[in-house]
Symmetry: C2
């Protein structure tokens, strides 16, 4: 029944979705923490606009980064690993070739 | 020495600048409080993007609102009074005609 993604087993797809969700949750939690810290030390209007700029950048990054499509997920994972939101070990269960591709792309 | 703004005395200009600064400080403090409250109840990513949208709107409003030029300050004050950032009583010391103009515009 793997018509659309012939190279991915159902098990791998499930695992990929879980890894993707873990990274997303991790990045969002880090962002919430970071916003709390920034708001804790808000003193002047420039701090507020810096927070606004920071959120603009993060929103753009996160919107761009988290696109779950199996056909491009290798690139998404490479980006997540490169940026520290996912560890290669969290992809364990995918076949070795996929993990090697993620690892190689993450080093680029 | 009132070449540029013949209808404003130096005393009135000083008073206008003080009233303007009071309103600005008041709005910024309210904004900081509001951001702190929102961040206190941040739970999910949508709250974060709502905070971002909120800051986008506020930044646009505040950038547009606080333009201190004596030639247009009557309109700025009317807007500030209308939006609750300045009380007419804080313009006391300006001549009655100016205050009446601000009051009339603030009701429009």
């Amino acid at each position: 029944m793997q018509v659309l993604n012939p190279n991915w087993t159902m098990t791998e797809e499930d695992l990929a979705k879980k890894a993707f969700d873990i990274a997303y949750k991790r990045e969002i939690e880090a962002l919430v923490d970071s916003v709390r810290r920034r708001v804790g030390s808000l003193n002047e209007i420039d701090d507020m606009w810096r927070l606004h700029d920071f959120l603009s950048v993060k929103r753009h990054e996160i919107d761009g980064r988290y696109d779950f499509r199996i056909s491009t997920i290798i690139f998404v994972f490479a980006d997540l690993v490169k940026n520290g939101w996912l560890d290669l070990s969290e992809l364990e269960g995918l076949d070795a070739d996929k993990i090697a591709k993620v690892a190689a792309l993450a080093r680029m």
